[in-house]
């Protein structure tokens, strides 16, 4: 076969046309109907399991029916059969990229119903914020790394996951588990930070900061990356508000809303941080907002270690704390208390309440109805991913099929949280 010399022959080769002239009116030859393309539920370029039924006009998306639910693990039904403490492992697996924040959210909801909000030991609050912000960093690292990989940039993925690995190892030192920590308890946290943790974490933050410089230099002005992110999946401020978007996605669209600042909880009023805002609301802004938030989290962490007081990490309220082991084995009172805490669970007075905090993806809340027993009568999770994913159809519209990947990546849909 003759070597290909010009563009026409290339097209001929690719499309298998006999007559090169045919190429001029390709559109007419293509079937005029809309085509349905199914993406997922197990698709390589999407981290998370979701099915998207795209109706496409050529390459252009006319309609994208997003169907979640492939990871519906029945958080709510399982919670109704578990004690309040036993729900913590389930919350770990909601947003499994930032489990500590979910832990804190659940603890806050239960504490709200028990009237313990604001009555926790100061050190416990600080420890919670420290592990939450570490979790937020892992969340954003994973989101950025995975999205970059899905766009073909494998190196930043390796770099960022290396950073995440450092944080996982530190979190393992704190809680005993790499990923699903179940570290927080109603009324505080299960154990104190290990010795020398501050120095290790601060050293780790410095390393992460230097890796971030490398990664940003790889991505920020990378032509491919920018072309595939900038101007893609734009969301206006008004749309972002009325579709319920929160977190980095809303902030990229210019919605100035961060639970940590607007409805301050824990010790966030005592630390300084900025809330980054985007201007265009496209994927590139979402990426930049995440990178900036990551740096802000590091800033919060550094302040926390400067301010953290000594003291207990668990409330002394007998309704929520376990007695000391020595007392448990030697006195009947503590034995009963221990037994009742483990078997019956923390007794939460009847009532309903909604507690929320800034999760990795935005406002994460738990709506709990308690009936006075040791298990929640109802436990609803307001998951930001679910709300964000509902905007996906709007974002996909009039984009190309290839744009689904960055849009989806930057929505940062976490299956466990979205499908609950």
């Amino acid at each position: 076969m003759a070597p290909i010399t010009d563009g026409q022959s290339l097209k001929q080769l690719v499309l298998g046309r006999k007559d090169v002239q045919d190429m001029s009116d390709t559109e007419a030859d293509l079937p005029p109907d809309l085509m349905t393309v199914n993406m997922g539920p197990s698709h390589p370029a999407m981290h998370g399991t979701v099915r998207i039924v795209l109706t496409v006009d050529g390459e252009k998306i006319v309609k994208g029916d997003v169907q979640p639910g492939y990871l519906h693990r029945c958080f709510e039904k399982e919670s109704e059969y578990a004690t309040y403490t036993q729900v913590f492992p389930y919350t770990d697996r909601l947003n499994y990229v930032s489990p500590m924040i979910n832990n804190c959210g659940w603890a806050m909801a239960v504490e709200k119903l028990m009237g313990l909000t604001g009555k926790l030991p100061r050190r416990a609050e600080y420890v919670r914020v420290i592990v939450s912000e570490m979790s937020r960093i892992t969340d954003h690292l994973t989101c950025v790394g995975a999205s970059a990989m899905e766009l073909g940039a494998f190196t930043p993925f390796l770099y960022l996951l290396k950073c995440r690995e450092w944080l996982y190892q530190l979190l393992e030192k704190v809680s005993g588990a790499r990923l699903t920590h179940s570290y927080v308890r109603v009324g505080g946290v299960s154990k104190d930070l290990p010795d020398g943790f501050a120095a290790e974490l601060l050293g780790c933050l410095d390393k992460i900061a230097s890796v971030m410089v490398e990664c940003e230099s790889l991505l920020n002005n990378n032509k491919i990356f920018r072309d595939r992110m900038a101007g893609i999946g734009k969301l206006t401020k008004e749309d972002a508000i009325k579709t319920g978007c929160v977190g980095p996605i809303a902030r990229a669209a210019g919605v100035d809303y961060d639970v940590r600042r607007d409805y301050p909880y824990s010790i966030y009023p005592e630390v300084e941080f900025d809330v980054p805002l985007g201007t265009t609301g496209d994927c590139y802004d979402r990426y930049l907002v995440r990178i900036e938030e990551l740096k802000q989290s590091m800033r919060i962490l550094r302040q926390c270690f400067a301010q953290i007081p000594d003291g207990p990490v668990m409330s002394d309220d007998h309704r929520v704390t376990l007695p000391a082991k020595g007392a448990t084995y030697n006195t009947i009172e503590s034995m009963i208390r221990h037994f009742k805490h483990i078997v019956d669970g923390v007794r939460v007075p009847a009532g309903e309440g909604y507690a929320f905090l800034e999760g990795g993806n935005g406002e994460l809340g738990f709506f709990v109805v308690a009936d006075g027993t040791g298990r929640p009568y109802k436990a609803y999770c307001r998951s930001p991913s679910f709300v964000h994913l509902s905007t996906a159809e709007m974002l996909f519209k009039d984009h190309f099929i290839a744009d689904v990947v960055p849009i989806f990546g930057m929505i940062n849909m976490i299956g466990g949280e979205c499908d609950k």
């Binding site: 197990s42 390589p44 399991t49 492939y70 990871l71 996951l161 290396k162 790499r178």
Partner: protein, 179 residues
């Protein structure tokens, strides 16, 4: 460092060739070039990423290259909870893979359903497809995954994989019917 290992194994191969065990050579080759299809659904995906990422580096076992088409892969890694809604998709992916094929259930959810015992979580992926190696843990540590991979390699070498056994059985049946 790879040289030494490779040499020993080549010697293995030479030995088998002398012993007339040439039939083992394809399996021997297969176990070092597993093409993974990561069926990632849930939390375990985070640890799956860790396994693939620098520190644990699954590439050392020749299984680093994820093929995102089931038709090109021979190792299905079920990473995470399988739900009833996901079941048909899992089955379809498995059916699309070429023989011989192996399945690893990554994490306790894929193995037994773990602590999700409810109306939508399937009690283990083996309700739908046969599984060769189960990795416990919620999620399993990367070391466990590497251990499981080595177990699978042994299994492949010995020809004890579900699909290998089935193929053998089918061959035997075919021979019997010919006779």
């Amino acid at each position: 460092m790879g040289v030494e290992l490779t040499t020993t194994r080549l010697e293995d191969a030479a030995k088998w060739a002398k012993q007339g065990k040439l039939a083992r050579i394809p399996d021997w080759g297969r176990k070092f070039s597993l093409f993974t299809y990561p069926f990632v659904t849930a939390c375990c995906g985070m640890e799956f990423m860790s396994v693939a990422a620098p520190k644990y580096d699954i590439a050392r076992f020749g299984a680093e290259f994820p093929r995102f088409s089931p038709r090109q892969s021979d190792l299905l890694m079920i990473v995470g909870t399988i739900t009833e809604k996901q079941g048909p998709a899992l089955k379809r992916v498995f059916d699309q893979m070429a023989e011989p094929k192996w399945v690893i259930a990554f994490g306790v959810c894929a193995s037994t359903g773990g602590f999700y015992q409810n109306y939508h979580a399937m009690p283990g992926a083996d309700q739908v497809i046969p599984v060769d190696v189960y990795i416990p843990g919620c999620p399993p540590r990367p070391e466990q995954v590497l251990d499981a991979l080595m177990m699978l390699m042994d299994r492949i070498q010995d020809g004890r994989g579900h699909s290998q056994l089935r193929l053998k059985r089918e061959q035997m049946i075919a021979q019997k019917t010919e006779e």
